[in-house]
């Protein structure tokens, strides 16, 4: 299908595909096995300007939008979700500054982020605040020129590796959701440390850690927007990043399908390559159709966001929900097409299937996405009356 | 241009376009046109069902040619490194003798550096005359002095053919000689012969990673120069009593703008990887499935006192270092026995080993091209064949 990409968009796609092929594919199994953070690949991506993709030109970026980021994430995800998660989580952590930061904050942080010199992470989830962000227990209390942060963030992607963290903490518990605020915390700030690295089922090249704040003092000017805007910052950030998770689903599904087709053309049973059997053909046809439908939705959502539309929540949730459910289904079926070989670590599909599972969970489980979609439909219906 | 399309025959089918490696052919007004980027590789010639592509006869008369008849004799540049004459020189003298005989001319060698006694050796290997310069400037190899002195001698004595080894040395400085004399040079030849009617040297070499062979002529200029890979030609007969003339040459006025500061010997890895000198080579390819496969070959190699070789596929996979690679982009070898294990036999590999005396191919796929080059072929799984072969060889050794 031709999605009428512009010349620059084609360049981005081509470059990311080249990085995926030359730098990611050869090492992905090893990174997974050793649970090793993909620093070498991040350096290549930095040198290729990919960290500046969605950052405005005035801050050293390329000034592109969601759609370009979608293309980049999709291509990387074809090769390895662990790598694309690391890259996408950097964008997730950057959005609060990009969307709500002051000019000083942008000048201070965005050029380094655009150059890939400093990696970013976003800290929202806690032990008692997953799908229910209202359960946030980390607090920030103003003391003179500083906020003092206390609490622990859990399962933070890029935790420990990133140098800049955008973190949500409660500044006024009495105000409920309106009592949260967002802060920029730099690695190395006294009182800020990391918990152990989590052992995960998939995306094992990516780093997942606790962020531990013990009387961590950050300068007052590190607050993003104003006190009380924390949840709005978080929600708008997730609105922007969700399509990227959809793009991850798209990529990994395509990657798995490609492997399955390649395998089925070579594997001979009953005297024929198995791709000649209708049972396999139908599975492949269904997978390809699902992927194309997901792609159409993800691309449309990204382009809608880039159009400047305000109400992107519903469609970005739909894109995330649909594309990541497709990813789980396609990676599972691609493995099935490959039979015993698919289950072996010699081939990349078992890893793709393990990796894909997280997409239905992180940045809002797919159950929460359904809630969000339904709430928006209810709101729209109420408005229409 | 030397390739022409007969417009009356061309159907505009485009078959030639698909075979042209240089995208030089386009269809215009329903017929093919060969554009200016044709490299004359002639890949299109046989692709045309209609016979519409022809070699147009080049009118050589219209191109100024030198007085070719003034040139005669075959020369061999005998390279030395560390004062030792490379064996390829003896092979070239063997081949040069045949060419000289075909032209009814003499055979000379050129030796720069090394000892005067080495010049005597070249005579015993077949040279009638040796141009010898013992100047210190030739002790370490640098390109310019070699190019300068060889060019001077060629201009003075006008040999018809000049051969050198296609080695790091020959391939590096001979192009300078060709450029200085504005004459043709063909690299990495695998066969040389004299064209019967013209007396031109037909120089055949692989191209496209060994996918095709090209026969090359230098019909308009002299000398005709070629480099030949070591181990491709057979050395001539060594005659201890053979007599010849050594002509001392002076290196006056020769300068070098490069300087060798230090010579580093090949790292002694403890493994014998001198493939070109080996009598027995056990080579592995993609069929070995991994590094471990070479362990199995090692056992066989030890038993046969052989050296381990590899196909490009195995080297590219990182299973074994490049120094083991046999083929167009690796070493050309000529052992008494070559055992190819799990190597499919891409042309790139075949050109590097097909002159081995006996070739044994072991491969799972009975259609593998390696069997076309093999003296003996066994179709089977390496994991069964190799251990069984090792066992049988052990039994025989034990019996002796």
């Amino acid at each position: 299908m031709d999605y009428f990409l512009s010349e620059e968009q084609l360049m981005i796609k081509e470059l990311c595909a080249q990085i995926a092929q030359e730098k990611v594919v050869p090492v992905r199994a090893e990174l997974d096995e050793k649970e090793e953070f993909p620093w070498e690949i991040m350096k290549v991506m930095a040198a290729s300007d990919l960290f500046g993709l969605f950052i405005p030109e005035e801050y050293g970026g390329l000034g592109k939008g969601s759609f370009e980021l979608t293309i980049a994430v999709e291509e990387l995800s074809k090769a390895c979700l662990g790598v694309s998660t690391t890259y996408a989580a950097n964008a997730l952590g950057t959005y609060p500054i990009l969307l709500f930061g002051t000019d000083e904050q942008k000048k201070k942080y965005l050029p380094d982020i655009a150059a890939g010199k400093r990696l970013v992470a976003f800290g929202l989830t806690e032990a008692n605040a997953g799908s229910d962000a209202g359960g946030t227990q980390t607090t920030a209390r103003l003391e003179g020129d500083h906020y003092v942060i206390n609490g622990t963030k859990q399962w933070i992607t890029n935790g420990g590796e990133a140098e800049i963290y955008t973190v949500i903490a409660i500044t006024d518990r009495s105000k409920g959701p309106r009592g949260a605020s967002a802060f920029i915390v730099e690695k190395g700030t006294p009182g800020f440390s990391f918990g152990k690295k989590e052992k995960k089922m998939g995306i094992r090249a990516s780093a997942t850690r606790e962020l531990v704040f013990e009387d961590c003092r950050v300068p007052k000017e590190n607050i993003i927007a104003r006190e009380g805007m924390g949840f709005l910052v978080a929600m708008k950030t997730l609105d922007s990043s969700r399509v990227g998770v959809g793009a991850q689903g798209l990529g990994v599904a395509q990657g798995a399908l490609d492997e399955a087709v390649k395998f089925a053309r070579q594997r001979v049973q009953f005297g024929h390559p198995v791709i000649g059997f209708q049972a396999i053909q139908h599975m492949i046809a269904d997978m390809a159709t699902d992927i194309e439908a997901a792609r159409a939705l993800v691309y449309a959502a990204a382009r809608y966001a880039d159009s400047g539309a305000k109400d992107v929540t519903k469609v970005s949730s739909m894109a995330k929900l649909f594309a990541t459910d497709v990813a789980m289904c396609v990676t599972t079926n691609a493995l099935q097409v490959m039979g015993g070989s698919g289950y072996m670590r010699e081939y990349p599909v078992e890893k793709m299937m393990r990796d894909a599972k997280i997409l239905q969970i992180y940045e809002g489980t797919n159950q929460i996405q359904r809630n969000v979609i339904a709430q928006n439909i209810i709101k729209e219906a109420a408005k229409a009356r | 241009m030397p390739l022409k399309i007969d417009k009356t025959k061309c159907m505009g089918c485009g078959a030639c376009i698909t075979v042209c490696p240089y995208d030089a052919i386009v269809i215009e007004d329903g017929v093919a046109r060969i554009g200016e980027y044709c490299q004359l590789c002639q890949a299109c010639l046989s692709s045309c069902q209609e016979g519409a592509i022809m070699e147009s006869k080049v009118d050589y008369a219209s191109i100024p040619t030198e007085d070719l008849a003034a040139w005669s004799g075959v020369w061999v540049f005998a390279e030395q490194r560390g004062g030792k004459v490379a064996p390829v020189a003896f092979e070239l003298l063997g081949e040069g003798r045949k060419l000289a005989a075909a032209r009814g001319a003499g055979l000379c060698a050129v030796l720069f550096g090394a000892a005067r006694s080495d010049a005597q050796e070249l005579i015993k290997w077949g040279a009638d005359k040796v141009y010898y310069c013992g100047d210190d400037i030739f002790r370490e190899f640098t390109d310019e002095p070699n190019a300068e002195l060889l060019s001077r001698l060629i201009s003075m004595h006008k040999p018809e053919v000049v051969l050198a080894g296609a080695t790091a040395i020959g391939r590096s400085f001979l192009p300078r000689v060709a450029a200085r004399l504005k004459t043709g040079l063909t690299a990495d030849c695998t066969s040389l012969e004299i064209e019967a009617d013209t007396g031109n040297l037909i120089q055949t070499r692989p191209a496209y990673g060994g996918n095709i062979m090209a026969s090359i002529l230098s019909p308009r200029t002299r000398p005709q120069m070629a480099t030949v890979r070591p181990k491709v030609m057979k050395a001539g007969r060594y005659e201890p009593d053979r007599q010849g003339e050594i002509i001392d040459v002076d290196a006056a006025g020769i300068r070098a703008r490069t300087r060798v500061l230090e010579t580093i010997k090949a790292a002694d890895t403890g493994v014998n990887v001198n493939l070109q000198e080996a009598d027995v080579i056990i080579s592995g390819g993609r069929g070995l499935k991994g590094k471990e496969g070479f362990g199995m070959l090692n056992e066989l190699a030890q038993l046969l006192n052989g050296t381990i070789g590899a196909s490009r596929a195995a080297v590219d996979e990182g299973w074994i270092p490049y120094c083991h690679q046999v083929g167009q982009t690796g070493k050309t070898v000529c052992p008494k026995l070559y055992i190819a294990c799990g190597i499919s036999g891409a042309v790139q590999h075949l050109v590097g080993m097909q002159s081995s005396d006996v070739i044994v191919a072991i491969n799972k796929n009975p259609e593998a091209p390696i069997f076309t080059a093999a003296t003996y072929g066994i179709v089977g799984d390496l994991n069964e064949v190799i251990p069984l072969l090792v066992k049988k060889l052990r039994e025989r050794k034990g019996a002796q």
Binding site: G52 | P21, L40, S47, E140, I169, P175, T263, K392
Partner: protein, 260 residues
């Protein structure tokens, strides 16, 4: 330091297949790439530039399509690109190619010229040294390490058939490089965008002040007489029986032929 890199656009020979029946090359779907050895030359030039400052220009001779390879070079960080093109250059062998390339380099000037050791379609390794000769400058072939690049000289390690040499050359000089030298970088997005807009300077024989009889077919002393596919060899012996019997027969044959 002004560095010139000579590159060549080639068909990816790893993808070229032979039609066994007709003995011809099947080019369909085979992509054109920058000769892989030349990508190492570009990388070497760019890293010297990063160290010493200066400019890097890329030079190629070829059809108009070869512009794509120059744009790729620019996307990697090359500053200027020159394409020698025109009907008069067609059918060039290594000598005529070297003549044309040295013609451009004389025009644009360079302190250091870097070439890949050879092109994967021809594998001759001749153009580099011939360019050096045409320019009357020293050269070092098969460079696997650049030890030191200075304003007046360059110190390198070159591969020999056995071992290697440390060689110093006075500048201007030409080196040809092997894969072991470095790992070529990937392009950047900004580089790719620059490359799209960059001006590729095209030059013909007239601009280079070269007579037409020294370039292209007329300036080429060598000519291709014929092209053919290497044929199979004869003398093949089939081994019969079970695997064990075959191996017994093989061992007997090898003993008979005194291979063991």
């Amino acid at each position: 330091m002004r560095i010139a890199v000579c590159i060549k656009q080639v068909p990816d020979t790893a993808e070229v297949k032979i039609n066994r029946e007709t003995g011809t090359l099947v080019r369909e779907g085979v992509p054109s790439i920058i000769n892989p050895y030349d990508t190492h030359a570009i990388e070497a030039a760019l890293s010297i530039k990063e160290q010493l400052g200066g400019t890097v220009c890329a030079v190629t001779m070829g059809p108009p399509q070869a512009e794509a390879s120059l744009r790729e070079a620019i996307s990697l960080g090359v500053d200027e690109a020159f394409l020698v093109t025109g009907r008069e250059f067609a059918g060039a062998d290594t000598l005529a190619t070297a003549c044309a390339l040295s013609g451009v380099i004389k025009k644009i000037g360079a302190d250091l010229i870097i070439c890949g050791k050879q092109a994967i379609d021809g594998d001759t390794a001749q153009v580099g040294p011939e360019v050096a000769e045409f320019l009357d400058i020293p050269h070092v072939s098969y460079v696997k390490k650049i030890i030191e690049a200075g304003a007046a000289s360059i110190k390198v390690e070159r591969m020999m058939d056995e071992g290697s040499d440390i060689v110093e050359a006075s500048l201007p000089a030409l080196i040809t490089v092997v894969r072991e030298l470095n790992t070529p970088r990937l392009p950047s997005l900004k580089g790719k965008m620059n490359a799209k807009k960059a001006e590729i300077k095209k030059m013909g024989a007239a601009e280079l002040e070269l007579p037409v009889d020294v370039v292209g077919f007329n300036g080429s002393p060598t000519q291709v007489k014929k092209i053919f596919t290497p044929g199979p060899r004869g003398g093949r012996k089939k081994l019969e029986g079970s695997l064990e019997e075959q191996i017994d027969a093989l061992v007997n044959e090898l003993v008979e032929k005194k291979c063991l």
